[in-house]
Amino acid sequence: MTRKKTDLEQLMAAAGTTGEGPAVEVVQPEVRTGAQYALLPSMKAKRPDPSGATPESEAEGGQ
């Protein structure tokens, strides 16, 4: 028996590829609740080292 693939299954397959989504997208915490989840104090202590995400100046970022 074969089951007709839903739109979602196709989308899910596509989601595995890179480049999905618009070229410029405003990051909207209102829609994506994960932006502001409450971190437990013990987890705050375990935050990853942010050195890989240090804000750069535009000059540095543009190289």
């Binding site: 989504g21 070229a23 989840y37």
Partner: protein
Amino acid sequence: MGKKMGKKTVLVNPPLWNAYAPHLAVPLLLGDLRARGYEAAAYDLSIECVDWMLSTAALEELRTKAEQRRAVDLEDEWARRRALLVAPAAIAGVEEAKAGLRSLATLHEPAAFHSVRRTVRDALWLISGAFPGCDFDLVSNTSRYSAESTLQVLEASTDPDGNPYRWAFDRMLDRDLFLDPSVEVVGVSMSADTQLIAGVTFLSMLREVRPDVHVVLGGNYATRLVDRWQHRHPLFDYVDTVVTGEGEGALASVIDGLGRGRRPGADFREKIPGAVWDDNGILLRTPRHSADISTAAPPAYDALPLDKYLAPGPILPVFASRSCPWDCAFCSIPFASNSFRQRPAAAVADEIRALRAAHGSPFIMFVDEIMSLRTLRNVGEALVETSAGVHWYGETRFARGLDEGLAELLHASGCRRMNFGLESASQRVLDLMRKGTRIDDACDNIAAMLKAGVPIHLFVIHGFPGETEEEAARTVAFAEAVRRLSVQTYGVAHTTWGGSPFVLDVHSPVGTRPEKFGVRVEPPRPQDDLSLQRNYTAESGISQQDSVRVAEDAAGSFGDTTVWFRAARDPMAREIEEFTFLRACVGAPLPETPPVPLFDWPPPHPDARIGIAPGVSLTRAPWPATQTDTGPALALYNAAEDRFLQLNWTGSDWRELDGLPWRDLESWLADHECRYLGTDAGATAALLLRHGFLVPSRRQAEPGPGRLRAEVGIAVVSRGDTHHMTNPITGVTVRLRGSAIDTWHRRLSDETPEPVTPVTEALARYGFLYRCPDVAGRSRPAYVTQGEAV
């Protein structure tokens, strides 16, 4: 009945519980007591406290408190300064903002909602800045005191300078309610750990005022907390009886037992299910049993201040079932809520009709841990049959039987949002979680719900033990794909998703049998004796640390962005599910980020006078703004446009420039060594205009086309194939992919003019590009992390 009257019970819901809707626990217990003939009252201390703190009078007092207190460290000083910057806007606007949050009309006006949310954010920032290490929020909050430590919780209860609740209770607690001599029992409901510090603070004050009343503690969190104690805990200084599990019937039995008086050799609590009490240093407890919910009394919402909750409606919580029959590895819900039971659907529908008639609100929230397929079908049919005319939302799980027919029934019965625990889009990970769902069913269910027009929300867990990086990324991509599908294919705008890192709960299956899940649990620090969560090491897959990073990446968050005033800790930024639901009900759009234009560029006429924009506030920051500065910065907040900016400026009165002709502004800034992030005076002058801090008396009639240039000071973080860019002045973050990254790099080099494309239009719309007459390139500033020694 006679014995029951004249003796009063007060039921208290301490902060902090969600401020957007009432909590079911207290009105449900109140309804139960009333139905049994007892005299009782309710006091929602959570919403009373939040509503009072978000008032003009309280915020005025908090501003003085923020001004006068000493910060404990640099980050704290930053929060204090931010509080002072936003104080004028918060104080002036808070009452109107609360009214706006409570109005359905605001949902239809995205600009008004944005403004209201911003003002409430400012007010929360002001509250936070008045207390050391405090993040005050409407959903959860932290202070310098940890809710995981008994010593700290007790210490907090007496400290009005470190604990916002003690400070507030000293001013707003309704003492008369408890001084009433007929009050003999006070019941405190503690459903979440967010209520512990305020709850204990209240209890300690109650003991001072009324040492004679019998205090009963109950609720989901209290149940989980007390379960771990064998010996007397200091909490029993304030509590006489804990009722674990469910309170219906048990609370009445406590009141009856007290009425019968003491009998030697026996304790009345021995016959009360789920009771825990201190007996000479040992905690005695009786077995719990599941309450009969088939005849549950309706919740007594008439006893709550329904006009004070911070959303239109009110949205009234109801329940059709209790507990959850599943045994998901990450969850402890079944632990605290006994066996799974369902109420007769007709009784639920009748209750909803009665609530609607009594309170005039058609908005209903089912707080069932899970609405099973049977519950959904029966309740849906009952609501249709009784023409209840309500809108409702609830939570369920993916299952084969949730087909198009059932989805259509749910929509017809008023369902306008359904929360699903997706957790993961990987079947392997779902199986690791013992979730018992099939991703194939999830796909079918989602399509069925969206086709029927019901918006959905997906909960995601990032980094369950054993999950790989690739599987976590695939889940995020899946959730994003569902959102796009919802909007683009089905025209359902209000579908959302949200993720959080996996949290190891000691009462969950992973917590009780970690070895079965490839997890090594780390012991808690001795001082964290109240913690019900544990750090852990996973044998395979993503580490606990990386699960936080995955969550931040998914959210487009930069991690700890305390570099700027705005930072990531906007307490109003998270999705408010009540508002998403209400928008779906009334057909209002989701609030998109409004355009963030850059103003008044190209420059005004040279003779134009420059004025400081109305509502701009300023404060001295305790750190230099750039690597080349040595003096502390001047921080400015343009409340009308919501922009924060730091200048290095050590002079005495920045307001001296008010009224200068535009032609003199650049030399004034140069003479006063006042500049933005190492830019020259010309660029600083331009930037002050572009962000609306300065307003020219005359604008150019028709700006020429000019060249698209990159705004100065944009922070860029590259992760994989995407760039995240934040404008620290506007706070807007955008995610760039593919060709957009190339476009941005070309604008930085600024060698050739850029044609107008959808990418450049979007970047200009959100304040990353601006049009400028061709002029020589400006110097590029470099950030320094605030507080870093220079």
